[in-house]
């Protein structure tokens, strides 16, 4: 054991870092850092697991609970557990198999994780999005592990001729306590496989107090070593014999078409072998490719150089006039007029009319590109009517389905191998780049890798929407908020699936608009119309980002208007501890979860505010030029509150000194990965707040690479970020972690900027707004 002697210098980690080394068949594996602040052990009572329902069964293909599908034991004792969700950086490829290992009493150092290919009939739903994996799979994975354990125990009991009640699995073997006999999992593997799978309902799950791994955060991600030595396999790393490299020139305007091209110069580039047209689908077409001209070469560098030499004529089509400056005005006008009412309580018009004072805030947020560090990339090998694909996809099942449909072949003919994803953030839920590779491989009769450049990624993304949020709050004489009207206007993700969509879908309205947890007697949410002019898609946290920015900025504005502390104003608006009633909402969505198990519980929201205020020392005195800001938001059925300390110097330079975030995500599996997700969410929140903006002119995206679409770098990242994991109530089911950290960051930041400078940021990104 090796104790780091100066842990106080490791920023953001409250506890001393303890490093242990264990040998794993020659593999050195660093055990986890017990970092951050886990405020108490999670309480996972067995009754709790019986008590809650999730929306998992309503997802396409539902849930499969079958140890034969997910667990394999080799005679040498190595247990292989299937990871059926995609690894994009959350740690899910480790966490879900770890749950299985826990229940089956496997020793993690003798467990291997195998990535599932796309097959939802076999594995159940595989869409890795919506911050759903742990909340949908904690119980199923426990049941799979418990079933495997029972099979091992039954096999041992049989071999010894003793009742199964006398034997017990522990640390990778089954023990008969009274005789002292023991058999390793490997020795039992063959017999265990012959046992029938026990009834899932009859399984007895482990008592939480006996957990060896769950809730502890002491196991590193399974790919840690491979990542640090360069052998981890991402989408970009697939190489097949005879494989060709392709890049594609795509229509610069969404819905545009290829008219003609001249490939003569491109074909002169050394290494370029072929130039051909790629089929495109008319917009909107869900996730089908945009079409264009592909350059095929012996390596990616040659393909890129060849594409630079192409001469292409495009027809721009109906979106050629898309202009972000004009569009913003259009959204603002729409937001100032009544729109479709999507939630209403009391009489907001009368209350605003009769209010002593009305505070109005209008907030703008532009399109954002995902810019996952690994741009979209895919390898396809089409042989006759069989297709094999290797790709970093969040939705391998959906990819398989879409590839099969595109080629008109049965899904059984399509194999989708899931690589690691170099980030996803929602972009890689859409498989257009995979279909491109499939079409090209079919056309040239060889395996093809399609590589998107960073410019392709920014200019042909399924962008985060663009929005105006218009909030009017009416106050009575005492400063109490008696009226709240929130109009939210933004093109919908549904526009990517169907033409003429002008309203937000329930899953968008439910992200921070109709689920506003404020106790205001007269409250109305409206959704005026907006048409899309480019491909809109999910971006980590989705509509929660602009809504939390608007709502939590408004809290700051109301605090200022009534001369009150931001946190007090926030607590006041949230009001009494209660379950929020959404009776007037047609489809409250609630992240697909049953409201009974996952209601909007304001007690939990109030608590994260109190926790972050306590741990983050809200109200502390800060140097001149510094300011503190706070924001809280429920999303993906988790509760988060963030405090940011900033300073702005006389040239307008912004420094983020400290971030404190408290998260209540219910029962949890791996606090160490929760901490890393929340640390990362602060960076992504700061990126979008400070720089994030994709704009259109003449229908074309004006940005291209990290020079024109910057993201936060280390020298401007928060100096320290503390994560405070709030222990759940005894029976709080698990909830989202990957996304909820993002939404409260921007408003906490801009509230802090207001405290530091008196300048209210109502339009993101901050850009040059602080320069004087």
């Amino acid at each position: 054991m090796n104790i780091v002697t100066n842990p106080q210098k490791l920023r953001g980690f409250e506890k001393q870092i303890k490093v242990e080394k264990i040998s794993r068949r020659g593999i050195l594996k660093g055990l986890g850092v017990a970092g951050g602040l886990v405020l108490a052990a999670p309480l996972m009572s067995r009754q709790a697991f019986a008590a809650y329902q999730t929306g998992a069964s309503k997802m396409p293909h539902g849930v499969v609970v079958n140890p034969r599908v997910f667990v394999a034991i080799a005679p040498d004792g190595i247990v292989t557990i299937i990871g059926h969700r995609a690894e994009l950086g959350t740690g899910v490829r480790t966490s879900l198999p770890l749950i299985v290992a826990e229940e089956m009493e496997a020793d993690w150092t003798r467990v291997k994780v195998k990535q599932a290919y796309g097959d939802e009939a076999k594995f159940g739903n595989q869409d890795t999005d919506g911050s759903r994996s742990t909340r949908h799979y904690l119980i199923p994975m426990r049941q799979i592990g418990a079933a495997a354990r029972v099979m091992l125990e039954s096999a041992a009991a049989r071999r010894w001729g003793v009742p199964v009640t006398e034997v017990r699995a522990q640390n990778h073997e089954v023990v008969h306590a009274s005789s002292g006999r023991r058999l390793g999992f490997g020795e039992l593997a063959e017999d265990a496989a012959k046992q029938s799978v026990p009834s899932i309902d009859a399984l007895k799950l482990k008592d939480a107090k006996n957990f060896r791994y769950l809730g502890k955060g002491e196991v590193s991600i399974v790919d840690l070593r491979d990542i640090t030595v360069g052998t981890a396999h991402y989408g970009i790393d697939t190489r097949l014999p005879g494989m060709k490299y392709a890049v594609i020139a795509r229509p610069p305007v969404t819905g545009g078409k290829l008219v003609s091209f001249d490939a003569a110069d491109a074909l002169k580039v050394s290494g370029v072998e072929k130039v051909l047209e790629v089929k495109g689908w008319p917009w909107p077409s869900k996730f089908q490719p945009l079409g264009g001209v592909a350059v095929i070469a012996r390596n990616t560098g040659a393909a890129i150089k060849g594409r630079d030499a192409l001469k292409v004529v495009w027809e721009d089509g109906a979106n050629a006039s898309y202009d972000s400056v004009a569009y913003r005005k259009q959204l603002e006008e729409a937001a100032r007029k009544p729109g479709l009412v999507v939630r209403t309580e009391g009489d907001v018009n009368a209350a605003l009319k009769g209010a002593y004072k009305v505070v109005v805030g209008e907030y703008y947020m532009p399109h954002l590109a995902h810019v996952s560090m690994e741009p979209p990339v895919a390898v396809a090998d089409v042989k006759g009517d069989k297709v094999e694909v290797w790709a970093p996809v969040q939705s391998p099942g959906g990819t398989r389905e879409d590839v099969a449909k595109t080629l008109g072949i049965p899904e059984d003919n399509v194999t989708v191998n899931v690589t690691l994803l170099g980030g996803g953030f929602g972009r890689k839920s859409k498989c257009d780049f995979v279909i491109e590779a499939v079409l090209l491989s079919k056309a040239i009769g060889a395996p093809v890798k399609v590589q998107w450049t960073r410019e392709d990624d920014v200019q042909h993304d399924f962008l985060h929407t663009v929005s105006v949020e218009h909030i009017e709050a009416g106050l009575d004489k005492s400063g109490k908020v008696i009226a709240w009207r929130h109009r939210s206007v933004a093109p919908s993700i549904a526009s990517t699936f169907a033409a003429n969509v002008v309203h937000q879908a329930p899953f968008e309205l439910g992200m921070g608009l109709i689920d506003v947890p404020f106790e205001v007697a007269n409250l109305q949410c409206e959704n005026p119309e907006a048409a899309a002019h480019t491909r809109i898609g999910w971006f980590r946290s989705v509509s929660n980002i602009p809504r939390a920015f608007a709502v939590q900025s408004m809290v700051g504005e109301l605090a200022h208007a009534t001369n009150r502390d931001q946190k007090e104003m926030l607590l006041d608006l949230i009001g009494s501890p209660r379950i929020v009633k959404l009776d007037s909402v047609k489809d409250p969505w609630n992240y697909g979860e049953p409201y009974g198990s996952y209601p909007i519980d304001t007690a939990r929201l109030l608590r994260v505010v109190e926790v972050v205020a306590d741990k983050g020392k809200w109200g502390r005195s800060v140097p001149k030029g510094h300011g503190l800001g706070i924001a809280a938001h429920r999303s993906f059925v988790s509760y988060i509150a963030t405090i940011v300390e900033v300073s702005v110097d006389d040239k307008g330079k912004l420094t983020v000194h400290q971030v404190d975030t408290a998260i209540d995500c219910g029962t949890y599996v791996n606090p160490e990965r929760i901490q890393s997700q929340i640390e990362g969410a602060a960076i992504m929140g700061l990126s979008l707040a400070k720089y994030g903006e994709v704009t259109f002119k003449n229908g074309k995206v004006e940005q291209g690479n990290f020079d024109t679409f910057p993201v936060i770098r280390m020298d401007e990242s928060p100096i320290v970020t503390h994560v405070h994991i709030v222990p759940p109530d005894s029976d709080a089911p698990p909830s989202g972690v990957g996304e909820p950290g993002v939404p409260p960051f921007a408003p906490a930041l801009t509230n802090a900027i207001f405290a530091a400078t008196g300048k209210r940021i109502r339009a993101l990104p901050i850009g040059k707004q602080l320069e004087t």
Partner: protein
């Protein structure tokens, strides 16, 4: 014919001398640990070490490194236990991990030049390497850890 020593092995290239080193490494030789993130020296994902200095392989042509020694993440340490790699594992730095080979190579170059950097110097020296997942706090801690002894 251009000759380069890559991770101690002699390699030869008789194709386009302007080909960015990144694609020679990845596509022609099969050293895929070096990643592509921007192609414009803006993100650091492709960082390799050429004669002790961190270099962006995406904007370095093969002819620029003729007769020089290139080290990629695969050649950093024979057992993968360079102090920087060990520090990375001890702090559990990666999320998706895609940027990390570039981050590690940059950190190695930094520590070669400045074995005991301050936190501010780390933040400055690593600013060319983007991590979209936002692992900066841990990268900073890992570089610090590597500099003080793992």
């Amino acid at each position: 014919m251009i000759k380069i020593k890559i991770n101690g092995q002699d390699q030869a290239w008789d194709g386009d001398p302007d080909l960015p080193l990144l694609w020679l490494l990845r596509d022609e030789i099969g050293l895929t640990g070096t990643k592509f993130g921007c192609g414009q020296a803006l993100c650091g994902a492709c960082t390799v070490i050429v004669d002790k200095q961190a270099v962006r392989a995406c904007v370095t042509s093969v002819s620029d490194v003729a007769d020089r020694e290139v080290t990629t993440i695969e050649g950093l340490d024979p057992t993968g236990d360079h102090p920087v790699q060990k520090a990375w594992r001890q702090v559990n730095v990666p999320q998706c991990g895609y940027c990390q080979s570039g981050q590690i190579m940059q950190a190695v170059a930094l520590l070669t030049e400045n074995p005991k950097p301050t936190h501010d110097q780390i933040r400055e020296a690593m600013a060319g390497n983007i991590c979209r997942c936002g692992c900066y706090q841990r990268i900073e801690n890992a570089v610090h850890l590597a500099s003080t002894g793992v």
